[in-house]
Subunit: 411 residues, 4 copies
Amino acid sequence: MAKASDKPVKKVVLAYSGGLDTSIILKWLQTEYGAEVVTFTADLGQGEELAPAREKALKMGIKPENIFIDDLREEFVRDFVFPMFRANAQYEGDYLLGTSIARPLISKRQIEIAKQVGADAVCHGATGKGNDQVRFELGYYALEPDIRVIAPWREWEFRSREALLDFAEKNQIPIAKDKRGEAPFSVDANLLHSSSEGKVLEDPAVEAPEFVHQRTISPEDAPDKATVITIGFEKGDAVSIDGVAMSPATILTKLNELGHDNGIGRLDLVENRYVGMKSRGVYETPGGTILIAAHRGIESITLDGGAMHLKDQLMPKYAELIYNGFWFSPEREMLQAAIDLSQEKVSGAVRVKLYKGNVSVIGRESPNSLYDQDLVTFEEGVQAYDHNDAGGFIKLNALRLRVLAKRDRKG
Amino acid sequence: MAKASDKPVKKVVLAYSGGLDTSIILKWLQTEYGAEVVTFTADLGQGEELAPAREKALKMGIKPENIFIDDLREEFVRDFVFPMFRANAQYEGDYLLGTSIARPLISKRQIEIAKQVGADAVCHGATGKGNDQVRFELGYYALEPDIRVIAPWREWEFRSREALLDFAEKNQIPIAKDKRGEAPFSVDANLLHSSSEGKVLEDPAVEAPEFVHQRTISPEDAPDKATVITIGFEKGDAVSIDGVAMSPATILTKLNELGHDNGIGRLDLVENRYVGMKSRGVYETPGGTILIAAHRGIESITLDGGAMHLKDQLMPKYAELIYNGFWFSPEREMLQAAIDLSQEKVSGAVRVKLYKGNVSVIGRESPNSLYDQDLVTFEEGVQAYDHNDAGGFIKLNALRLRVLAKRDRKG
Amino acid sequence: MAKASDKPVKKVVLAYSGGLDTSIILKWLQTEYGAEVVTFTADLGQGEELAPAREKALKMGIKPENIFIDDLREEFVRDFVFPMFRANAQYEGDYLLGTSIARPLISKRQIEIAKQVGADAVCHGATGKGNDQVRFELGYYALEPDIRVIAPWREWEFRSREALLDFAEKNQIPIAKDKRGEAPFSVDANLLHSSSEGKVLEDPAVEAPEFVHQRTISPEDAPDKATVITIGFEKGDAVSIDGVAMSPATILTKLNELGHDNGIGRLDLVENRYVGMKSRGVYETPGGTILIAAHRGIESITLDGGAMHLKDQLMPKYAELIYNGFWFSPEREMLQAAIDLSQEKVSGAVRVKLYKGNVSVIGRESPNSLYDQDLVTFEEGVQAYDHNDAGGFIKLNALRLRVLAKRDRKG
Amino acid sequence: MAKASDKPVKKVVLAYSGGLDTSIILKWLQTEYGAEVVTFTADLGQGEELAPAREKALKMGIKPENIFIDDLREEFVRDFVFPMFRANAQYEGDYLLGTSIARPLISKRQIEIAKQVGADAVCHGATGKGNDQVRFELGYYALEPDIRVIAPWREWEFRSREALLDFAEKNQIPIAKDKRGEAPFSVDANLLHSSSEGKVLEDPAVEAPEFVHQRTISPEDAPDKATVITIGFEKGDAVSIDGVAMSPATILTKLNELGHDNGIGRLDLVENRYVGMKSRGVYETPGGTILIAAHRGIESITLDGGAMHLKDQLMPKYAELIYNGFWFSPEREMLQAAIDLSQEKVSGAVRVKLYKGNVSVIGRESPNSLYDQDLVTFEEGVQAYDHNDAGGFIKLNALRLRVLAKRDRKG
């Protein structure tokens, strides 16, 4: 019986960074699959020039009409980062999901391009031991169930970095001098965060060296004077800094600068990968770390206790779904519907103090405040709070405990 | 029909701090109820001398055998604080429950004393608008369902602070000079934390003044040089600092000092009270803030992902139960059983860096590590990880999403 | 300080059934409060004539313009019962919440009328030991926070049924002969269910007598031949029986008849009331029992597994919220948003067999089926299912368990 | 690098039923792997003689010391079925997990035997599309992380039933006449249930034919007279019927007879498999269906509301874990610890009426009842329930909703 993977691939959309690894993949797709390659390079705020990616693609024989370069920063923040922050999502208590949340957008764009150019396959450069392969591929399949997925790292015959580089050399793929030796750690970056892992970070008992950090100066190096800013929110999303309205990507960029300068958002974490192993990463999420604190701050005065507690109970599941790659799943969308509904009144302003790694909410105000004194003090005639009510409240809450105690005393 | 509250109270155990308010209550119990008063004063690490409480009680006519003064610090940390930290409990995302966790122990001791001395009532000094009345009374009722509970703040006729002080004066209760005017905020403290609320803190838009802080210097005032310590854990509980074994209360005391000196553990929060209103508090939990970070650190290498995610999903409910006063409830005990089981192997050491308000886990190691390289690399012959497995893993995880996509495409 | 309850009530909207108890309340409001009474009588499908309620109200001096009689059956089923059934809500595993779900609608209408007629108070006839007082009043307050609530059973001086009846007699309220003695149990009914409790049902060890049942014949008395019907669904709601389109209330009425005739929907339950005590009730929910089985049936082929499992995990909380009276709460609305989103494709037809108390789903089909063979067998070239994938799927799912086992073996 | 699967297998423990399929596997292991085969045949109450399995094994050349035949019925019910029923576990609302719960015990015994005989591999006969392969293998790996697992249905070259039978014939494996054609459906059975699936059941729109049922007569064929029994419980487990103490397996056997005779426990379900597809099965769980109803009955009077609601919220996750094969996982054990703690007082007797498919709880009593009148009516002097308390209870529960309503009215 012929397997799907026996069928020839005609055209494949490759998530292409322009770097060495995806260049090798590009060539491998051409030589091994004999496929026409379409490159897709996205600006998600990773901080790299995109122009070289076009040049390199052209050099490797990609037709101009097969080169896609998109600035997705606004879409990324507006449709992925912000919805996630409405949920206060933190994986395993701490991780702000910076890598996880970027993958579904890349998958989505690759599938869109595949449909546009009539490609029958998509390809990514994630390795076979990590979470990203899962995230990319669940995204592909959820959006185009019949797509052929090529995952070179799980398929090709290269058994060592050396073999890979030999292939590159043989195929005239330029190798930067410093790449011949292996990098001391690997990096993923986008507008929300940068993550570092591997090599020098592999022993979780050993402190991460200062040089792995990309996005933040250390708290020690940050200014001795605090910076205070005011973040404006509309329906759960940040919309302004110090009264200046900004687009989603602009706000996150600005918060990243502020976070960077104040040594904010470093996290050294051992986490549980979906594929079953523990790994250690160093994450830097400067703007996101400010944002989640501020978001919790504005929620604290605008969100009812019942809604907040439900959100808190749903959050770990929501974060797990995103971490595991299930952004495009009915259950994530259900949770999002619940979360989004809760944010209707989450508007106002939060003052945040940034100081040497600390983010402290020091003030919050909102036209929708549930704390407001005028609200708490009800109109005359209908007393808002009678001390005596507390007695009854306690008595009935205690009733079942008392019945229990009497029962258990008998035993 | 005679109500319970119509029956005379013969002997009442009062949670007595020795301060002005509980002294007024003491006198009020004597005059209003004509009851024999038993005072109970506990050292929970609030940082006050207990000797004066005895003296004052004697002066107010309490018989020596009716004065109970207990050092409960070890019991507090061992049986209340530590079990709660095993759960990584944080109410509404941030609050470490410092006040909430102390109440059940006080309730428990009061009921024990009531049984010992044959008292028919207990009394506390919590006001009628707060959570503490609920916590005290749920504790009382859960442990002694037939106990009579006296809550002076909900019962007495005093309608102003002035009236209260007049009563004090009339009854020769000494009033410290600075008490004639009202304090600018009120404080609760124990070994885990101190909380401040009211008056100068009432407007959540206004930054908390520096002078409300009791337990910590500000990050700005903290040393310019980081302090690094190693915390040892056994079955989820801290047992040593820098290799020196310590009792639970000693460890927390030591961590409090370290936290204090490094400006760690301040939290300015607007929270949802169980009685239905929002309130604003400033919490300082220096040692606890270090402890929860370190505990998550040791869990990160010793706790399986499935266990950790279940814990994370149960935590908000667990924290809510403690906040609301349901420590002595079957559901809290059920959750505790699940949590405690998960901690069997949570032993090892965590290195933590303390610097100007920051607590950073920078290293963790454990004989029970699930990260350990020797574990991850399985014995020869049974390969731990085959890249090809990931393909199947993804394919089956994707299957339902593909079926969905095909279905939805039809529609 | 004047309490709210000291202010005179000018006009009060009473939930008025026309029966003895609410007639007594009506009179008591007139005499005790000196208030103008507005009566509100709703047809929720309880199976009683409403005309007599008008007559009685007139006789008791209610002005014609103060008498409100509404047929709310369609609104009840469409906006309350059906949304709840989308969630498959069952309280404590079994109870279909027939009483609970009717209360918010009554509260809502009372508040609407109060606004319309300028009333300053509302009043209900629920007793002080039950859940209904909570449900009514939480509804009132959520919709009109300043409303004055009168709960006669908690307020008046009558300490016995005898005293109540004396008051009725003295005030010329006609008492049906059989009411002089106490009923052997009390009943609540609406289009969804009827519940019986009290007296003959008080000992949970004793079987409920046959005569308490109002809505169903016993399975023993039901026909020896099964009835098979087909229920059509659109977006999670029943829309037709045997191909005949019907309105929500008509469908439920028809299912009630079918359930009644086949002895379906009886439940004898000891449940936990929100006010802290256990109570025993006999519920009959003939149509609802058919409906929930059929709804689960249509979901089984149209709802994705991830969505279904999330729904199942949210359901107990959702059911508890409705039982406790929190229909008009942000958290119920959040859960509803998640649930409703999941129902977009829950359309199709379910064949159900009704036989002597049994409801059995025996067939389901849908244009949106996720089971459909054509869907499961993917197009050629992209194999839907490769046995080998299962190996990888299992291996990665097992990985953390293997690491654990290796770790624990060491210990 | 040599893969694990390249190493020769020396000795393999096969889960062997003695039937055609596992006999083919046995031969295939001998011929294909050249391995010494150890057969393990368990009596889990599937209702088949075990003696023939020994005979057949001997005939196929298995050494007597390599034949293991165990009666595991008591262990099965005591250590697997009963703990699961303490949780009231139902997968996707209905399924009592009859197949799922048997797999971990088989895995456990196979691993024990493997250790005893020094085998380096285990083998099962589950197919590559189902859940059972996952359950078996997760069990193997959790208990012996280095074990080699052989899954013939995923490995061998047979691409049709025909090819399989040819192999059997060629190897002198006797084929029962009726096996040459394919069975109209496949069956799995143990003491808890029997399940049927495939072929005649594949179209979920078509009613399951009567002949697929193995364990129950139809409700239509059941007696016209109800059977009433009393089931005794100790700490959540059934211990007696009608006052006669019985072992776990004996009780379940007896309940199965009672269920069988009264047409109880049939379920026709479309469910979501862990491997991502929907499947349709017909389950018969006669005794289990009685047991879960009775267990909920005894819980209804002995379990506190808080504990019950927590159990209900944990249950779907617990059921999913068992369904997916994670019995031997930390998270299942954590949930079990919570559940088991809740069952300490779940003792007493439940009267259950069995009639033509219906199981109705008609009475419950317990020395630990929380319903007991003497408990509910508190001693004089401490009133158990004051109507006025309800007012305060409602007021404080309503407070946040009122504040919300006031806020939202402004907007």
